[in-house]
């Protein structure tokens, strides 16, 4: 609860900041159906619906869909956290605007190089694939891709640093990390939102530094310098793993801040919460090793340490955040709205996806699941049915708060039902296909794994239901956001 909230903005500044948040929200709501349709296209492609289209298109769309989704929800989470932090700190509106325009430019360049240039390396542009296209994409597309990444990287790093700066203006690092709670010392009250944001964004800076090194090494390679592929792989997955995970943590931070207002109960930082999130700060830095289990050239102790850290991350998530959510809501005088329902169900999706991820982080299991559809199964679960629901919950909450427009409970209920049936139905085909050895990132399934085509067809039906839910959400929440824009 915002017991230590302070007034840091005058009314006109607050209106401008709220407006910027609404603009971020509307941007996410515009990108959501477009990027979802790209995913729909991919599953249709895998089901054999477009035999006349070349596979190069599949891989280009795959690249745009994955980078677009990760980027959209990262900025969505950043905008949400910035808005909620206004009660405690003073993030810069100018930096938020700078990030907005930089993000738009980066997205346009990504569209140009993928849909215009057929750049198709997947989100992770694993070295040296961008430089070895077999003539499918031209050097200009590769250059455009890296320029886009550089622009996005600069904007998001500046934004990350600015939010950390705003926290540092009010809280010392020791306080912001909750160390006074850990050691039982007197200190300022630190809301979980501040603690989790601090932990996430410190890790985020480390991830962005790794991304900068990757881009620099690609540039060095273009100039003829030899680059170690294993080093590049470590840096790439370090960055990617962190970006996805901090997006989820920022989503969870919003739940810590917002759900108590619906449950009518407080959710404060205490010793257990502080220890849990400080442990995350350490564990997350090494859990990424599980992406490289099948690189036998990595030292074996590194692989085992990766499994230990991956398992370890389940403890703070399960015992503190998921249990905390359940305890907060259990038998509470809960105000169930579209926003609170999505926030609550988002934690459930995060948990369910996390279970599948922990299973896959077992080295022995990973050698049977690595790069099968089990992987998109678990990350779509904690992303689509996890953090995306949390952010959609936040956008609806903010839109309602600013516009004052009430919701239609029946439409909200139908929205949630469609999202759940469509979402989990679509994911079930990923899980089932992964358990049956169907590879991920295949435009066409060859005879050896032909069953993947059938699973894709069933998935398409569920995605149709999911898209109906998304459209209903957009109708409900979109009109609130549009009204909020003029409020």
């Amino acid at each position: 609860m915002a017991s230590n909230a302070v007034v840091l903005f005058d009314e006109s500044e607050m209106i401008r900041f709220r407006r910027m948040t609404v603009i971020w929200g509307i941007t996410a709501l515009v990108l959501l159906p477009i990027l979802a349709l790209l995913g729909y296209f991919m599953r249709l492609f895998q089901s054999g619906a477009f035999p006349q289209i070349r596979p190069e298109w599949f891989y280009a769309v795959l690249t745009l869909h994955s980078l677009g989704m990760v980027g959209t929800w990262f900025v969505g989470a950043m905008a949400g956290v910035s808005f909620l932090l206004l009660k405690y700190t003073r993030p810069s509106l100018a930096v938020s605007k700078f990030s907005f325009w930089g993000t738009l430019l980066g997205v346009v360049l990504l569209i140009v190089c993928t849909l215009g240039g057929l750049f198709g390396t997947g989100w992770y542009f694993l070295y040296p694939l961008p430089l070895m296209s077999q003539g499918v994409w031209q050097p200009w597309a590769t250059l455009t891709f890296f320029i886009a990444l550089a622009i996005l990287g600069v904007c998001w790093t500046v934004w990350t640093l600015d939010i950390l700066r705003s926290i540092a203006q009010r809280y010392s690092l020791r306080a912001a990390l909750g160390l006074n709670y850990v050691f039982g010392e007197p200190g300022p009250e630190v809301p979980p939102l501040v603690l989790i944001t601090t932990v996430s964004l410190i890790v985020g800076v480390a991830g962005f530094v790794a991304a900068v090194i990757v881009i620099a090494l690609f540039a060095a390679r273009a100039l003829g310098v030899n680059v170690d592929p294993l080093l590049m792989k470590n840096l790439t997955f370090f960055f990617g793993h962190i970006l996805v995970n901090i997006t989820m943590y920022l989503g969870v931070a919003m739940v810590y801040e917002l759900l108590p207002t619906y449950a009518g109960r407080p959710w404060k930082t205490n010793r257990v919460v502080a220890i849990a999130w400080d442990a995350v700060l350490f564990l997350i830095l090494f859990a990424y090793f599980h992406h490289l289990y099948m690189d036998f050239a990595q030292p074996q102790w590194v692989q085992r340490f990766g499994q230990i850290c991956s398992y370890g991350l389940a403890v703070p998530a399960g015992v503190v955040s998921i249990f905390g959510t359940l305890a907060l809501v259990y038998a509470a005088r809960m105000r169930w709205t579209l926003a609170s329902t999505l926030l609550f169900l988002g934690i459930m999706g995060w948990g369910i996806g996390g279970i599948a991820a922990v299973i896959d982080s077992t080295v022995e299991v990973n050698s049977h699941f690595h790069n099968t559809l089990w992987v998109p199964a678990h990350f779509h679960t904690y992303y689509l049915m996890g953090v995306v629901l949390m952010i959609l919950g936040f956008i609806d909450h903010a839109g309602k708060e600013i516009s004052g427009l009430e919701e239609n409970p029946r439409r909200s209920k139908l929205t949630v039902i469609l999202l759940l049936i469509g979402g989990y139905g679509f994911l079930s085909m990923f899980f089932w296909a992964g358990a049956h050895s169907v590879p991920r990132r295949y435009a066409i399934y060859p005879l050896e794994v032909a069953q993947g085509t059938e699973y894709a067809r069933i998935a398409v039906l569920f995605i149709t239901v999911l898209l109906l839910g998304v459209l209903l959400y957009l109708w409900e929440t979109g009109r609130r956001c549009l009204k909020a824009l003029s409020a």
Binding site: Y59, P128, L230, F296, V315, M348, H368, V449
Partner: protein, 185 residues
């Protein structure tokens, strides 16, 4: 099959978690104050249970890795090179493009049923995934084919038949076409 075991474990635990969430939603119909002492005691129990599960899980699995151990001596060595978009698989070393082409188009390598075989896997261009599918189409083992590195995958294949190799690391527009084959006799 380990995949289905993992699937059912996931289904059980995820189902339990979903049931707890549904139960919690239902509990809000009869609102009452939360007994924090009971909640904290429950959290402590959850911590112990989760720690126990994870420690047991680590104990059971941490030693079972597919990585080569120095004390094991392979009875047969097979050389593998990945290159956009095929695997060259040969009983003799592949050191250049000509040898790679010869390995790609020659008759499939034969591996003795039940013998302990080492696949020495590398790449001549980008990253590939050397992924072995048994005659029934189950993914039974894999390692990365990476330029500049040789990954050693050791297997004892007892089931005779034709084994397919698919690439599980996105390697370009022909990724889904990339394959190799060997026989176990």
């Amino acid at each position: 099959m380990i995949q289905m075991q993992a699937f059912y474990v996931f289904l059980g635990v995820a189902g339990l978690l979903a049931a707890v969430f549904v139960y919690t939603i239902a509990s809000t119909r009869r609102a009452r104050d939360l007994d924090y002492h009971t909640a904290y005691a429950l959290r402590r129990k959850l911590l112990y249970v989760l720690l126990a599960v994870l420690v047991v899980g680590l104990g059971m699995t941490l030693a079972k890795t597919p990585y080569p151990r120095d004390k094991d001596i392979p009875e047969q060595v097979v050389f593998v090179v990945g290159k956009q978009f095929s695997f060259g698989i040969s009983a003799s070393p592949i050191t250049n493009d000509d040898e790679y082409l010869a390995a790609t188009y020659s008759t499939p390598v034969q591996v003795g049923a039940g013998s302990f075989v080492e696949f020495r896997v590398t790449s001549f261009d980008v990253n590939h995934g050397f992924s072995v599918y048994d005659p029934e189409g189950h993914l039974i083992a894999q390692t990365q084919a990476m330029p500049g590195y040789v990954n050693r995958l050791r297997l004892r294949l007892t089931q005779p038949g034709r084994y397919r190799v698919l690439c599980l690391e996105l390697c370009g527009s022909g990724h889904h076409r990339m394959r190799g084959v060997f026989d176990v006799k």
